[in-house]
Symmetry: C3
Subunit: 495 residues, 3 copies
């Protein structure tokens, strides 16, 4: 009847509200990537890292909306969708879905560059971002998340994208890192590894905190609706599981690095970057099954996830593949383990409900995750084969040595130095001219201040502040008086 219709329409609106808020927070993950990465590179490549991150939100959104969303969620066959190209004909009630899905796409796309920093050419990243956001990621997400997708039909489970988003991006990053080659000086002839220090820990940590902020929204938003009867329960569970898994992975990485790393080149310590990587792995691992795990399983999955990260990390070093921010280890390792983990530890997994069907799901997830990884790997491999042929895949050695900030962007990230000197110069030249002698020592600005504020002005101002305080208090009193006269509405309001 009427009220039912009104309720249904309201429900749809609240679903839109849910998608928009969650999508917006997920969108902010872009800042997380930007700062984690720009903090992790050397100070000569910071502008470049920020530039790539900001740029891909634009390029990515244009191409995702142009053809990505159509391939992913338009009506179509099991391989890809064929509707809504350039948003033509997209009904209003799918627009919020489209916006939300774009934020996932932007997350998936941005991962590839995480491994390529400090040497990637603009052409290479442009084309990669277009390929991933326009074709590769949409097709993969169609497979797994569209109701007609072939993986989805097989029973593939990936709630929030451990494989679809993270392993997809990590695999693309691996292909690109392989084809681009390591940074100059990263590996020595004799196989030694030079550790390249992040230039700003606060920047990198800012990124990590934004990841934490976004991870909850990423997983909770993946439910896509809030109006169906089970939604509240699922979203609650998702939040707790995300929290637990991240905490577990972080704690494990913390203690492992402090107490268990074989002494040698990597030193036992309370290592921040390692802890952050552990934490990110936790975020990636939990995605696939955050709606399924009982809390204890999140704990176990987070803990194991860190060791999978470690394994891939060691393998990358062994094979001398240079990954500027360990994104391959986090995203590919963590993502693939996540999609397997859900079929093992999830509430329908082989441990909690051992049966033929759960074993089948495990196989489907192992197989499906692998297909996604291979598909993504091959698409980037193909692109880079072409780029390498035209020698466009990488900046020149000279540009790399100068740093991409000056060589490509004509903009150093920091211009603090000169100004400081300039500032002290000014102080000196002023002090020479002024009668009061000012020296640019630690305490000099105190004296400076005293010079610039004349006593009589202070007197005048002091009066002002008294007036301000009196006015504030009397104003409040007046308001209160007025307030009490207003009948009932305020004064008798009780909770």
């Amino acid at each position: 009847n009427l009220i039912h219709g009104e309720l249904e329409s309201f429900k749809k609106n609240v679903d839109v509200f849910f998608l928009v808020v969650m999508g917006n927070i997920v969108f902010f993950l872009q800042a997380g990537f930007a700062f984690y990465e720009s903090g992790s590179v050397r100070s000569k490549n910071v502008t470049n890292a920020l530039f790539l991150n900001y740029m891909d939100t634009s390029i990515g959104s244009l191409f995702y909306l142009l053809c990505g969303y159509a391939l992913a969620f338009g009506e179509g066959n099991g391989f890809c969708g064929t509707q809504y190209f350039a948003l033509v004909g997209l009904p209003y009630d799918r627009m919020a879905h489209c916006f939300f899905q774009y934020t996932f796409s932007s997350t998936a796309v941005t991962i590839i560059k995480s491994s390529l920093h400090e040497r990637c050419s603009m052409t290479a990243y442009f084309t990669s971002a277009i390929l991933l956001s326009g074709i590769t990621y949409p097709i993969v997400s169609h497979w797994a998340w569209s109701s007609v997708g072939w993986l989805s039909q097989l029973g593939f489970r990936d709630f929030a994208g451990s494989s679809v988003v993270h392993a997809m991006g990590g695999s693309a990053g691996l292909a690109a890192a392989l084809m681009t080659g390591p940074r100059i000086g990263r590996f020595e002839r004799n196989g030694n590894l030079n550790h390249i220090q992040p230039h700003s820990i606060p920047q990198a940590t800012l990124g990590a905190f934004i990841f934490l902020f976004g991870a909850i929204a990423f997983n909770a938003g993946s439910n896509l609706t809030i109006s169906k009867s089970k939604d509240g329960a699922v979203i609650s569970l998702v939040c707790l599981n995300t929290l637990i898994c991240v905490a577990s992975a972080t704690t494990t990485s913390l203690f492992y690095q402090r107490f268990c790393t074989a002494s040698g080149r990597t030193i036992k310590n309370w290592n921040l970057i390692n802890m952050l990587n552990g934490s990110f792995t936790g975020m990636v691992v939990i995605c696939a099954g955050c709606d399924q795990y009982p809390p204890w399983a999140s704990l176990v999955v987070g803990c194991l996830g860190y060791f999978v990260f470690l394994l891939v990390f060691k393998a990358m070093q062994r094979f001398q593949i240079d990954d500027a921010t360990n994104s391959v280890s986090v995203q590919l390792g963590g993502g693939y383990f996540g999609v397997i983990g859900v079929a093992i530890f999830g509430s329908d997994g082989v441990i909690l409900s051992p049966s033929k069907s759960s074993a089948y799901v495990l196989l489907v997830n192992i197989f499906g995750g692998a297909v996604i990884i291979i598909f993504s790997f091959l698409s980037i491999l193909l692109l880079y084969t072409i780029l390498r042929h035209f020698n466009l895949h990488r900046v020149t050695a000279r540009e790399e040595k100068i740093g991409l900030d000056l060589a490509i962007h004509n903009q150093a990230a920091y211009n603090v130095q000169d100004v400081k000197i300039d500032c002290i110069d000014s102080i000196e030249s002023i002090s020479r001219r002024s009668t009061a002698k000012v020296q640019p020592s630690a305490g000099s600005h105190y004296r400076l201040r005293r010079m610039t504020s004349e006593p009589h002005i202070i007197q005048a101002w002091r009066k002002c502040v008294y007036v301000y305080l009196i006015a504030l208090l009397s104003f409040s009193y007046v308001i209160r008086g007025l307030f009490l006269m207003v009948p009932h509405k305020f004064a008798n309001f009780s909770l």
Copy 2:
């Protein structure tokens, strides 16, 4: 009946929820301004930039709540409202609206200072912020957004404030910049322009990412409700349009700067700051019609918006008006174009539905936007005429050269240098005293670490970590056991 009443009351609550969440994210835009601007100034004025931004949220909110909201949304005549001064008598169901509108006011007010950095006196900014938040912005928003406002009655369209918020602020900024004059050394006698480098690109980019985050909420929140039947559709469209317009403007600025800038003083490159300005222009331009444009129009409007920005930008340089962060070009240029654009490209605009009424709306928007800009310009001009008379509009040349951080705030933004030296000093003095020799070279901290952790402690700790890992696993096992005993609730939960 009963249920209907319950649903209505619930709807109102969800509307409050919507306004609070969106308002809160819009409020966070203040941080966007703070960091974009503090990153864009020289390192001697960083504390000042942050100070002004933080301060105006406070001063602005006091004066907006004191009289701004009353002028803007109290019952009244076509020129301004006359109710709810100092929030007296404000009913509870308008409080969320008041909060949300304050966040818009804070955005509008903060724009003026964007052009004034590095030379603005505290008195000037205090009085400007009070004037704008208490009087100018409220009156303008009453005109356009209150149901009885004269522009609103004429049919003026500005959904989310291209003119009311952005052009208003940009125009105020222009007036203030004119009256304040350029920074020392910005323009040479012979007309040459000295480019003042931003001191920290990561800081500026942080601001830009927060803008991206806030822009969606700014436009979506402008719908004010989520419970009416069309709200879901409108908000969905708003999000997509915002995304597309920003992407379009960003991409256009990106390629234009790289390939089309006449070589000369400005060099062709992948310029980050220019890209950010393009992106901001996109955010400003889309506001007026984000509920109206079909997606393709957002694309066009974003692209054209960048060229409008460029035009104003060139004009500002030609007339030697110094704008520290290009805010006049972005906000005034973009904002005025936005309010015209909606009447051209919007779904009711002259292109999509050519008719007398749409042509009339176009005229009203051109005229209304101009009136808003002139009103804002004049109000600030008047204030600055007084300020100039008392010579309070600008810091002294000496203070400007020293930098406002030391001269006014007695607080340098960065104190890294000395500490580093101090740190190395300590290391050296320690190494002199200790038997093991430590040198402050690149690898020194490795050796330091080894000194501070004695072997036998490591042994003890290693045991601890084994115990931790075993405990973690067995704990999980126990929990799982307990878990399985809990009947049904968890174990049989399926989605």
Copy 3:
């Protein structure tokens, strides 16, 4: 009937949505603490400050979920709850509550370390975080917020945790600061005070902006539901009150520092850090009664709150207790005053409704706040007595002098210096080899850029950009054409 059931189920879901969004934003407060604190310490302890902040979200969440939530909100007696240990048996409809409460716990726990920076040992912080998140905070929150808690039964009022969260944390911080002792060099033998400058004002201010962002969600979220009939009104009032109180405290601190500070060691100026502390105090003070105050009372409470802060601040200096970020003054002073203020200025307080029952509530709040503070103080005192016995409470003097970043984490926060030099070296070595001579002067990168982009490439690219622009416009045109053919759905949509 059926619809009623559907509406009820939907309401529950929206409540979950509310808790998840608000909880997520409150969770982001962790970043606020991280950056405010890491910006406030010296540059040799930045990594440590960030590490501690990131770590305690993990450790804290594990122990809060393990036993904290059970003690706080499980069924039980007046002293503590005894259900849901390790989340066993936690029903789905309490999970969102659990997640939300965790975010409050994480805020409470993180406060303790704010006073301990630059000298706290890892063991001390680990154990403190475990104690606070697992036992102390949960018990305190049970007292005040669980329906069976003894303070709650007495009529204790603390809406959003002025005492439960803030004074609890501040008191723990005071105990820890007393037991740990001041930083080396902070107080001289003769009683003089050395002011330790924050190393990065932008970082500290970033934290402050995140606090502003989180404060609204913290207080609004404390209502826990959005579906009950009064919720909308309460939440609206909460937002406005928070805004007003913060603005009032900020403004008071601003003017006080500028005009009223006795000249001497502390100089009159527009002090940023002092303003931020005033602002934080406002956030803390308002918590207890943000649902009760009429707006004018928020103004008064914020103003008075700053003077309470000042009082505690002076006392801390007098007694030579070293608090790295003034957190004790803010959280303990502000928090305790807040919980008293609500009983005085609240709508049921002794001023607005003078009666026996309101006087009784005042006494309960004074007493209850004191009990909470003492309980928290003693629990940390006990812990530190043990830690001091084993000499684990503090890093060694050598580690403190070197800085915790290198001594404990083996990771300097900034590695900018060396790279810059390296960069200029590369430029020089390149210029020596190349025919064009490049000097690393201010304008050098301009020349560099010209070197790297050959003219004929530019020609080719210019063509590309023309093609791009033409493609963009014609693409839009085509879309528009298609668009117009789609019947009704888009074209006739009007708002």
